[in-house]
Symmetry: C2
Subunit: 422 residues, 2 copies
């Protein structure tokens, strides 16, 4: 496989919500209740909701910034590459990176909409989640047909309402829903209860993938308060290691045999070890715990059938893919977060996948994502226009050079600052 | 390599302390303060110390028990295989399993002697730790020269006293000390402080390996209270994943460049992924965190040089050993815990290692352990008498059949119950 011929679909990027996203989408009675963005005197952008200011509007949205300036979190939309929040600029950034398709996780509302969980008026909270999803499906993913995989927010406080929402958005072509990697950690019933059954059933019925993103338990792993930030980064996979255990040992997959779960930004290199371990545990404990996973199957088989993995930059996972289900490995770009390989994703991908058979490369880079998320880009973008080479040619001249924060602020003013002053 | 020719040294087994261990080893003034074992009316054995009863004397000491009876923790010494607590029977069990050498972690005092941490009279606590170590070195490991690697307890509440103890036991030929995988979790200073420097310096000076065993942080990983026991087992490597991060990112190895740390019962299959990840983090964060690990080295290189891994039953770790330092991989039997491969360890080892070059097999099975722990069995046991084949021939007729708890209790009475009634 040549770099130019790759077709890249990223199952994990991040939407930085623009200030006008709720305009015209909220029922009249809740119009004044919708989150609104303010530009503070200290220069920070903030969303205001229910009296609280959410200043991490653009936390970690650092694509295009020199590495020396990372760690200084963006405080203002004006300091971001427009591709973070502007769909037209986003598509250009995707083109320049040779990326055909993208699924975008939410930002200021948190990974599974935690921001709406404490709203006392549940009807209001539901209306806002629906408005968010409509904006995401129609104005974000819908702006460029064939270029985006839509992703819906759940209503974490209400599994029945979420079930209804999952069915509603599925009608609009959305087949992915964000969820928490550990609802118990959010103060909600665990996956060992029946509480989530209506939602899981709606997902199974509509072929909607339950996406658990790193960090969606709202818990940050650590060892001691004086440990440096590198420790937190080193331990970040732990949350999804825990989620993987719950997915296997909880009854959810026995209740809903068609269900698919994605471990978003979960990596792949730890999975062969995990699979070996869970089988060892099952064989050693089953005689006395009497746990029966059903169908005479091993936990590794159940995991491999139902769980979608993804890969940013992970040589070990590719090397040991013989232990994984090649039909469930996908790729992600993580734009615009600091782990992203943008704008050199094709060069990274070819480094790890270049020596694989074309069929395996195609599965990992796009065919698996297309199948699991019911995403059909080629009906809109002819296949020969969808390759890295074709997309990059289309973006010739688009500026992808690194921009220090101050320079970006200067440049953004023309593009964006008028809208941000609201 | 043939199974018969393997030479097996296990760097992680478990000593179940016998009731007479403190006899004649405690200074007169603390004689009445030493832990003592009682046989309760409900049939349980318990250690009594400072008014508290420790009933998990033999937690998980299930070697030789049918799998159906696991989970029913032993409550009495009489229900254990005598090899758990009796050194003569232990050596026979090792022979029958083809195991030449063994390092034994403590049981009722917990992995790093947590039981003595709360003792108000610190002089008393020190005297008891010294008595424990003397017993372990002289009566346990010393009973069969050439067959055991001694391992000392620290005095976790006092790094200076531990330094002195490390030097004292090194004089007696003991070059391993147990430690916590996260001292901060025990309410003590973290590895990011200078507090442990005296102890770490003593270890570096004497070539003593700091052994962090799974569970030595006294924290049990989990996701929710209603998750089954399989989840806890699945997540047990997390503690050592955390310890690995602290070892790499803390200043301990820069301060003491000769220091060696063992991740006891840590496994190997997750390490290649971990190493890839920490290098990625270092390269991505260094421009703004300004962390400098020194010597122009990558975190993976530092880890691989200083950290000793061990292997029970781990195909993935062996398959990906090209990412590991072959000189720091060791083997463990985990007798008499439920994860142990006893009495079929050679059959497990040959399954995973049989296809490796003899030199690699020898390093993993015994030569690395000999080097790191300054253990020289062949001066006592000629090499041709040290193989699986030779040891098993020596144990011909030794009963290794599975024994239900009730049968074991019956059989033990002759051997042991008279001593246990104290």
């Amino acid at each position: 496989m040549n770099l130019e011929d790759l077709i890249l679909v990223s199952v994990d990027d991040h939407v930085i919500e623009p200030p006008d996203m709720f305009d015209g989408r909220v029922p009249a009675k809740y119009k004044d209740k919708a989150p609104r963005m303010i530009q503070r005197e200290d220069g920070a952008s903030a969303w205001v909701y229910e009296g609280a200011e959410i200043t991490n509007v653009a936390l970690n949205a650092v694509a295009g910034r020199p590495k020396e300036e990372l760690g200084i979190e963006p405080t203002s939309l004006a300091e971001l590459r427009p591709g973070c929040y502007d769909i037209n600029a986003r598509v250009k950034d995707m083109d320049a990176n040779g990326v055909l398709g993208s699924m975008g996780f939410p930002s200021f509302v948190r990974f599974c909409g935690q921001v709406f969980m404490k709203t006392a008026d549940k009807d209001q909270a539901q209306a806002l989640v629906r408005a968010y999803n409509d904006w995401h499906i129609e104005s974000w993913a819908g702006a460029y047909p064939g270029r985006f995989i839509p992703l819906a927010l759940p209503m974490m406080w209400d599994a029945e309402a979420t079930a209804k929402e999952v069915r509603r958005v599925a009608e609009k072509g959305c087949h992915a829903v964000t969820f928490s990697s550990n609802p118990y950690a959010l103060g909600l019933p665990s996956l060992y209860t029946d509480y989530w059954d209506p939602m899981l059933k709606a997902c199974a019925d509509t072929g909607t993938v339950v996406c658990m993103h790193l960090g969606s338990s709202s818990q940050s792993p650590g060892t001691s308060p004086d440990a440096p930030i590198e420790v937190t980064y080193s331990l970040s996979p732990i949350n999804l290691f825990e989620a993987a255990a719950d997915i296997v040992w909880s009854p959810m997959l026995r209740k809903f045999p068609n269900l698919k779960v994605a471990l978003s930004e979960g990596g792949t290199g730890w999975v062969p070890y995990f699979l070996e371990r869970i089988d060892y545990i099952y064989q050693h404990t089953r005689p006395w715990t009497h746990t029966d996973l059903g169908g005479g199957r091993l936990p590794s088989q159940i995991f491999s059938e139902h769980v979608i993995l993804c890969f940013i930059d992970d040589a070990v996972g590719i090397e040991t893919r013989g232990h994984l289900n090649i039909d469930n490995i996908t790729w992600e770009c993580d734009y615009p977060h600091s782990d992203s390989t943008w704008p050199h994703s094709p060069e990274t991908v070819i480094k790890y996948l270049g020596h694989l058979p074309d069929d395996e490369v195609d599965k990992i880079t796009h065919r698996n994502a297309m199948k699991h998320f019911q995403y059909d880009p080629f009906s809109r973008v002819p296949r020969d226009q969808a390759t890295v080479g074709a997309l990059r040619r289309q973006a010739a001249g688009w500026d992808i050079s690194l921009k220090p924060r101050a320079v970006q602020r200067e440049r953004s003013s023309a593009h964006w600052l008028d809208i941000a002053k609201i």
